[in-house]
């Protein structure tokens, strides 16, 4: 991903009010990490497992810092139990920043990524988690702001799935 795109994502998160990011890095969007760390408005927390990312973000969110979890698409599978019991059943708002690998628009798609990619959206649908697929930088900040507004309105997780231009 171009650095300009990473800067737009980070700028969009900041403008939308996100101030806490738990993360387990991957390769497609990882250019956002140094920018998140450099910007003093984010508390950035590395985790060992996406489930843990969801539970820590839940605590941060309930403690008053609008929170996000940055993960690879596979992280949705790994964290699905905590997304269900904390995100949905308890009702905790958080933004899922998901590198949507294995999509039709994933510029690095291979046999490794395609199968998890194919099942990612059905997993989110089965959890009834609202999501938006982003494949271009057009209106990026507005879409991030809209997703954050949605997560606060329904007090549940909302996912942004980054693919296309973001996976170059």
């Amino acid at each position: 991903m171009e650095v300009e795109l990473a800067a737009k994502i980070v700028g969009g998160l900041k403008e939308a009010g996100i101030s806490f990011v738990a993360y387990l890095p991957e390769t497609r969007l990882s250019q956002i990490m140094p920018l998140l760390r450099e910007d003093g408005s984010f508390m950035v927390v590395p985790v060992a497992n996406e489930s843990e990312g969801v539970s820590i973000a839940a605590g941060a969110s309930l403690g008053g810092r609008p929170a996000a979890v940055y993960m690879e698409g596979s992280g949705v599978y790994v964290s699905s139990y905590n997304l269900l019991v904390l995100g949905k059943r308890l009702g905790v708002p958080m933004l899922l920043i998901v590198a949507y690998y294995g999509s039709v628009l994933d510029k690095r798609n291979t046999f490794l990524y395609a199968f998890p990619g194919i099942h990612l959206i059905p997993i989110l649908q089965s959890l009834d988690i609202q999501y938006e697929v982003l494949d271009k930088a057009d209106s990026l900040e507005d879409k991030i702001k809209g997703a954050v507004k949605m997560m606060h309105a329904i007090k549940q997780p909302v996912a942004l799935l980054f693919t296309g231009e973001f996976t170059a």
Binding site: E52, S55, G64, H152
Partner: protein
């Protein structure tokens, strides 16, 4: 030593601390002994410690207490390396380890009935003050230090296998109501808005 005896000692000491609990008998017993608005009993295995870490990080001036169990922690051991690295000084973790899976009845032994030493795992993950207590006096000593000192503590409490919680009436409060009570308490005591009605 029973978990209930530990809770009977701990509950009256809770003032403005935040208490995050996990599932099963622990949730029922703590919920019956403590009506503290700063209780958040998430009712899920493997989630309480992470929620406690998140709260401790964003509210560094508040003491946060995570109540875990052996089964719940074994399900989420990935929390320990992160906890060791982050080292939140305002967090105290109590793991009530009865060495068995015991929801509605005493079931199968957990790994801690075998060779697994959870305090040893925690220490190897960098949590320096990780210890195991096996009697009530030791628990009282560790619990008192955990509440008074501003340092990460991880206390594995070896407790008897009991099903006393089955005799306790369940609270008539669903999880969203429970969450709102907790968040409104935090809003009031922290003087800030957390949940905006309009989103």
């Amino acid at each position: 030593m029973t978990r209930s005896e530990c809770f009977e000692f701990l509950a009256p000491l809770i003032k403005d601390q935040l208490v995050i609990g996990s599932l099963s008998g622990q949730r029922v017993e703590w919920g019956s002994l403590s009506r503290h608005e700063g209780n958040l009993l998430v009712a899920a295995m493997g989630a309480a410690l992470g929620v406690g870490v998140g709260l401790a990080l964003v509210l560094p001036h508040r003491k946060v207490i995570a109540l875990e169990s052996d089964g719940s922690l074994l399900l989420s051991l990935y929390n320990l390396p992160t906890l060791g690295n982050l080292n939140p000084s305002n967090l105290a973790v109590f793991v009530f380890d009865n060495e068995v899976y015991s929801g509605t009845r005493i079931s199968e032994p957990s790994a801690t009935a075998g060779k697994t030493d959870l305090a040893g795992v925690a220490r190897s993950c960098g949590i320096e003050r990780a210890t195991t207590v096996r009697d009530l006096e030791s628990f009282k000593r560790e619990a008192t230090k955990a509440l008074e000192e501003n340092v990460l503590r991880f206390v594995v409490c070896k407790v008897d296998k009991t099903t006393g919680h089955r005799q306790i009436q369940r609270p008539n409060e669903d999880l969203w109501e429970h969450k709102y009570r907790f968040v409104r308490y935090l809003e009031r005591t922290e003087g800030k808005e957390i949940f905006k009605g309009r989103g």
